[in-house]
């Protein structure tokens, strides 16, 4: 493992423009991230904070209304933004893979599991049918699915949710990617299955030296799985750093509120704190810092100027004027 970052985002911005050009939604606003091989980065935020758009921006698979409007995106030293569609296609699924949230919806109901798992292998590595089938079988085994040979012939609707998500994981790992982006992979699973699945991901990571981006709104998972975390709000990364640091000494009030809102055993009933207000409309953000209308510690400067990324300690940054004091 070299020390060169595997994935680098440098002030990446993705905007959605309505058909008539009237509304511009800054779904991803100047996001900078670094990811090294073997590392797990957690991306945390509420729904609508831009996490999924960020993931799709990395994969350069945005809907027609969205466009990457600025910034840099580098993977293994290569500039992804300069790639042609056909080159990007060879990267997707093969070198960078992604898992979506709902496994039932992610799998095509009309094709067998075997077919869908073998597909990336057949397309990217031009393996023949039989070879791909063998690969599919060993992939299912690797994700700990019992009786893999039989499963190959079955259809998605015949399996449980946990198994389906493992299959989606098998698909993602099929061509041994360097980076895996997991977009809320456990959100639709039962709690008992979640732990098993997370363990599976960790094992896969260790075995293959994967860099993992774990998108979630569940801080508990972040605490268990991730090495570093980036907190997103209204399309921006408002705080980022090593997991320990962020959990022990969060700087941004939003991060603090998120961590406070995790219920813990032993807390009295009064301890349940919530964050007032609603996330902003991304098409008409408030002036200055986008969090200030809800921030309990906002002051004048927050309302006037949007803060840039301020370094608190090396590796720990926050977009908050409180950090500048």
């Amino acid at each position: 493992m070299t020390d060169q970052p595997l994935l680098e985002l440098d002030k990446l911005s993705t905007h959605f423009v309505t058909a008539r050009g009237t509304r511009v939604v800054k779904a991803v606003d100047e996001v900078s991230l670094t990811l090294r091989a073997g590392e797990t980065l957690g991306v945390v935020g509420e729904s609508g904070s831009g996490k999924t758009t960020l993931a799709l921006s990395i994969m350069r698979l945005l809907p027609t209304a969205a466009r990457i409007v600025g910034g840099g995106l580098r993977f293994a030293g290569e500039d992804l933004l300069a790639k042609s569609p056909s080159e990007m296609r060879h990267i997707r699924g093969k070198r960078i893979a992604m898992i979506l949230q709902d496994p039932m919806a992610s799998l095509n109901p009309l094709f067998t599991v075997g077919d869908q798992v073998a597909e990336p292998v057949r397309v990217h590595e031009h393996t023949g049918r039989r070879g791909a089938r063998e690969r599919a079988r060993s992939l299912l085994k690797a994700v700990k699915i019992p009786a893999p040979e039989q499963r190959l012939r079955e259809y998605p609707h015949q399996m449980s949710g946990g198994m389906r998500q493992r299959i989606v994981g098998a698909i993602a790992m099929s061509c041994e990617p360097r980076v895996l982006i997991a977009d809320e992979p456990t959100t639709s699973l039962d709690v008992t299955i979640q732990a098993q699945y997370l363990k599976l991901l960790r094992d896969l990571q260790k075995e293959h030296g994967l860099a993992l981006i774990f998108i979630t709104h569940n801080l508990g998972i972040v605490a268990r799985m991730c090495d570093s975390v980036a907190v997103m709000y209204a399309g921006r990364v408002i705080e980022a750093g090593p997991v320990r640091t962020i959990f022990n000494a969060p700087v941004h009030p939003y991060t603090q509120a998120l961590i406070e809102s995790i219920p813990r055993l032993g807390d009295g009933p009064s301890r349940l704190t919530a964050i007032d207000g609603q996330p902003p409309d991304l098409a008409s953000l408030p002036p200055g810092c986008s969090f200030q209308p809800r921030c309990p510690r906002a002051f004048d400067r927050c309302r006037e100027e949007a803060p840039g990324a301020i370094t608190i300690t090396p590796g720990h940054e926050a977009r908050c004027w409180l950090a500048a004091k």
Partner: protein, 301 residues
Amino acid sequence: MSVSTAAPSPAPAVGLPWISRLAAIRTEGFPTIPIVILLVLVFTAAFAEFIAPHNPEVGSLSQRFKPPAWVAGGSAQHWLGTDHIGRDVLSRLIFGARVSMIVGFTAVIFAGVLGTALGILSGYFGGWVDQVIMRITDTWLALPALTFAIFLAAIVGPSEWNIVIILGAVYWTRYARVIRGEVLSIKERDFVRLAIVAGCSKTKIMRQHVLPNVLNSAIVLATLMLGVVIVTEAALSFLGVGVPPPKPAWGLMLADGKKGLMAGYWWLTVFPGVCIVLMVLSANLLGDWLRVKLDPQLRQL
């Protein structure tokens, strides 16, 4: 792909007064042309006596098969030509609008009322009422509409009013099915449950809570059915079991027109057809637009 805007979506307005919902419709995409066409047709139908230049049912044999005014042999007397008995085509078209409108609207309303009522009863009561009504509906639906209509017309004999009843009897099932489905899901909604808990009588619940909510679907269905009914009526008249002669129905005009077809008397075929197309097109466009505006859930209709 949804835009990742964080604005919370408004809760679906349940039980909103129909009128204020109608007022909220006045936005872009308003189907002006279809509505204008329909209004023109309604106007023409209503004031046919004043607009039509000639008597539609009487013709003079010396004037038969005259072409439209702009073709050699035509005259300004008969703008759109005459038919095989010398009747003025334009006048027949104008009076035909009345026939189509009356038959079309009445049949649609009749089918709608019957179908909605049965749909509500079927959906709300469930049990054997539902089973019976649904079995009848399925059987009815097994018989294609036109075939069934022809059968009924053969039995009871054609007349303008019989046609309306027949069309209503054939098409109510379309409503019943859809409305029943809606009622089934409305039944489970909280405001109905509240009404039951509050002790409202079944009729009251059906009238005050269920009916307003299915009205949207019923109206959309009605506009969509209008086109179908008109085409069916035209087909029935064309076959000779619809509106009986000498009343001017567009379908009848097409049947008459066929007689002159091989001789090249194109105006007898083209103009009535164009009228039918205009009416059906407008009804369909209006129905599509209403469907989108009143209830996006009805996409699958």
